[in-house]
């Protein structure tokens, strides 16, 4: 069963989601369950007096509409309620043939009062790996218990853990976020924040977790395990709005030996680079130093190396840029990134290494990069062929761009909705914030499907509630995605148009050269000497079959057809 997608809502809807008891995002799955010691206070806690008024509406048995088992049993036999609870999960599941209005009515019923012992039973179920049952009981407990109850936060936390274990991460994150926002129980908070931190490693709601939780936490009370991360996130938020000075106040609190300190340095450098009008050597050195920082991930170190290469390229230090590209380390048999090869190809072209450039462009034709949006590739290939006076291939390479992107160019000229263009959309989705949002949206879709599978086990109330959570999250994620997509496709369209313009110029220039009269006595330039193979090298003739381990090794032999200068 798929989650019903609602109309896009505004950010206010997200705030509303957070305000509701059941709206929280699930943290990333964690293998180690929280210590069972937390069960003790739950068992000992007497039912709070404030629960009494809540019992009144709940005590009247609901209509014959299906209800969560625990909830149904509670009014009849308060003492036996938890025991009977697991007996009827199927009855609680939404029936296919049931009228929608009846289901809605059931969901709108006030929550039934449940015995507080249901919390202990839920914990037992959780530790017995019965997450569905545990989640249903915990939700029943949360619904019928005031937030002042000392087990209320624990119930939210364990409900989140249940949902995460069932791969409903967003649902879990919403509950963790609630615990973090309400901070009603200081004992729960460290575990909650740690779980949320783990969640940030997978596609997640950035607004909810990064900005509204870690970006706005009161840092005074945080445990060491998450304070660095929170400081880092708050610094990032400041950097995004252009307050480097404020960001620094957070970053200076970071443990120098921690990974967040390195990431903060990287973020600061990137921000400075974005704002810098001129690149100085100090910035290059800083990035270089960062590229050797073992605390950073391999990907982040590679980013730093790429930054070094790009900065050197900007300063026309092409040899230096090549050295930086060589430093990029890829896992075994990893094809790498297309931009890496393209940038290196431009660098080699500027160094006059035309054949090496063609070698890298051959790499970019590999199936791994077939879907990449690289209009520059065609321009560069045409440029190389032109420089080798291979005018026919140059013209063909130039034409290839207009041929391959004809639909997209047509869509741009016709002022169509560019988000509907397959290539531009894919290009926009391949990087940056659009990519992250697309991934989050995709994960929401998957989790929405997963949710349907637990409809029976969760009972109607929890199921309906989670449906709402996912519907709202989906609507907001979709809105954000569309907004980012609009901007990103426009940028990609600009790139394509610029490339198209250059290609047309190239075609014109090559066309003129193609029909240029060759002077009498003209001689071809001396062919360039190719470096011979050393004894340590081995050569495999390329016949169109790409091997990932060869992608950086292509060597092209191509004659120049240029005429020697001074021919009469």
């Amino acid at each position: 069963m798929s989650v019903v997608r609602m109309q896009p809502v505004t950010a206010a809807a997200v705030a509303l989601v957070l305000a509701l008891p059941g709206f929280a995002q699930t943290p990333a799955p964690q293998s180690t369950p929280p210590p069972p010691a937390t069960k003790a206070p739950a068992a000992a806690a007497p039912p709070p007096p404030s629960a009494a008024p809540a019992a009144a509406p709940a005590s009247s048995p609901p209509a014959q509409a299906p209800r969560p088992a625990g909830a149904a049993a509670a009014p009849a036999q308060p003492g036996a309620a938890p025991a009977t609870a697991p007996a009827a999960p199927a009855a609680a599941a939404p029936q296919a043939g049931q009228p929608a209005a009846q289901q809605q009515a059931a969901a709108d019923q006030p929550p039934p009062k449940v015995d507080p012992k249901i919390f202990d039973e839920a914990l037992k179920d959780y530790f017995d790996n019965k997450q569905e049952q545990a989640a249903r009981k915990l939700y029943a407990f949360i619904e019928s218990t005031p937030p002042t109850d000392e087990n209320f936060a624990w119930a939210q936390y364990f409900l989140a853990r249940c949902l995460i274990d069932l791969n409903l991460r967003h649902g879990g994150a919403v509950y963790l976020a609630k615990v973090a926002h309400e901070r009603s129980n200081p004992q729960v908070l460290p575990k909650t924040l740690e779980a949320l931190k783990v969640l940030t490693q997978v596609p997640h709601d950035e607004v909810l977790i990064d900005e509204q939780i870690f970006g706005s936490l009161d840092l005074g009370f945080l445990p060491d395990s998450v304070s660095d991360y929170a400081n880092y996130q708050q610094g990032l938020v400041d950097l995004r709005v252009g307050n480097e000075r404020w960001a620094r106040t957070h970053f200076v609190k970071l443990d120098e030996e921690g990974v967040e300190a390195s990431r903060a340095k990287f973020a600061l450098l990137v921000t400075r680079l974005r704002n810098a009008k001129q690149v100085d050597d100090q910035m290059i050195d800083d990035f270089l130093e960062l590229s050797k920082d073992q605390k950073l991930t391999q990907e982040a170190r590679n980013e730093a190396r790429l930054a070094v290469a790009r900065l050197r390229y900007e300063k026309k230090d092409y040899e230096g840029a090549l050295k930086a590209y060589d430093m990029v380390q890829l896992p075994s048999l990893d094809p790498g990134r297309a931009t890496l090869y393209l940038e290196e190809a431009w660098t080699r072209y500027n160094l006059g290494q035309l054949r090496a450039t063609i070698g890298l462009l051959t790499t970019l034709d590999a199936p791994s990069f077939r879907d990449e949006f690289l209009p520059d590739k065609y321009i560069l290939r045409a440029l190389v062929y032109r420089d080798l006076c291979q005018y026919l291939p140059a013209k063909r390479a130039a034409k290839e761009l207009t041929r391959r992107f004809s639909d997209s160019l047509e869509a741009i000229r016709e002022r169509d909705d560019l988000t509907q263009d397959f290539r531009l959309r894919r290009a926009a989705n391949s990087h940056g914030s659009t990519r992250r949002t697309a991934k989050f949206l995709e994960s929401l879709n998957l989790e929405g499907e997963q949710l349907g599978r637990h409809a029976g086990g969760f009972g109607e109330r929890l199921y309906k509630h989670l449906q709402k959570v996912y519907d709202l999250a989906h609507a907001e994620a979709e809105r954000l995605y569309q907004q980012r997509l609009q901007e990103a496709v426009r940028e990609e369209a600009d790139r394509l148009l610029r490339a198209d313009e250059q290609v047309r110029l190239m075609e014109y220039e090559v066309g003129l050269k193609l029909y240029e009269r060759v002077k009498r006595g003209a001689k071809l330039v001396q062919p360039e000497k190719q470096p011979a193979l050393t004894s340590a090298q081995i050569a495999f003739k390329f016949t169109g079959e790409y091997w990932n381990d060869e992608l950086r090794s292509y060597r092209v032999t191509i004659p120049s057809r240029c005429i020697e200068e001074g021919a009469q």
Partner: protein
Amino acid sequence: MKRTLLLLVCLAPVLAHAQGEELENPGTVLAVQDRTYRMASELWIGIGVAPLDAFYKGVTGQVGYVYHFSDSFAWQVGRGLLSYNIKTGLRNQLETQFGVSPTAFPQLNWIVGSDVMWTPIYGKTSWLNSSVGHFEVFGTLGGSVVNERIAADVASGSGQTVFRPAIHLGLGARLFTSKNVSFRLDFSNEFVIYKGLEANILLVQLALALNFGGTE
């Protein structure tokens, strides 16, 4: 004259096509890589079988040392083989039912020798499209001394042995698993020479090879 003209007319489209192809797709592409695995000093130990003789099957153990001068040429400085022989059913039948003397069956005891090794093929292969394996194929040619038992005193357990010269010819493949460890599969034949070609001893062997001092 007419023939020449006809030949030219026939060849012209072929030449034009070749030229057109060269104009449109100029150049050739090679994937040039550093050899991932290079051998230097190799010590190997292997087990195998001598399956050819109808009267016994030899289970062999062999060790050897190879010095690699280059990636394609090496000297197998020494190798030594010891054979544990198992009677076949045919021999049992001959001995028990037909009264053939046990001393009438010569069999292999051990072999020592030295060869040159030529490795013309080095390649790589894909395993389930998820990993790349490297291999090489080599040939060996050399000389051996074969020790055979040609007669046996069954009662005392002793026997008479002879030494025979032999020409060793082999073909093998090596699969690299790391810079220092590889596995060899060898097929070789000892052409035992004594007053002409006396016998063939075919050997099939699987060996573990350890490489020392190979360059990165």
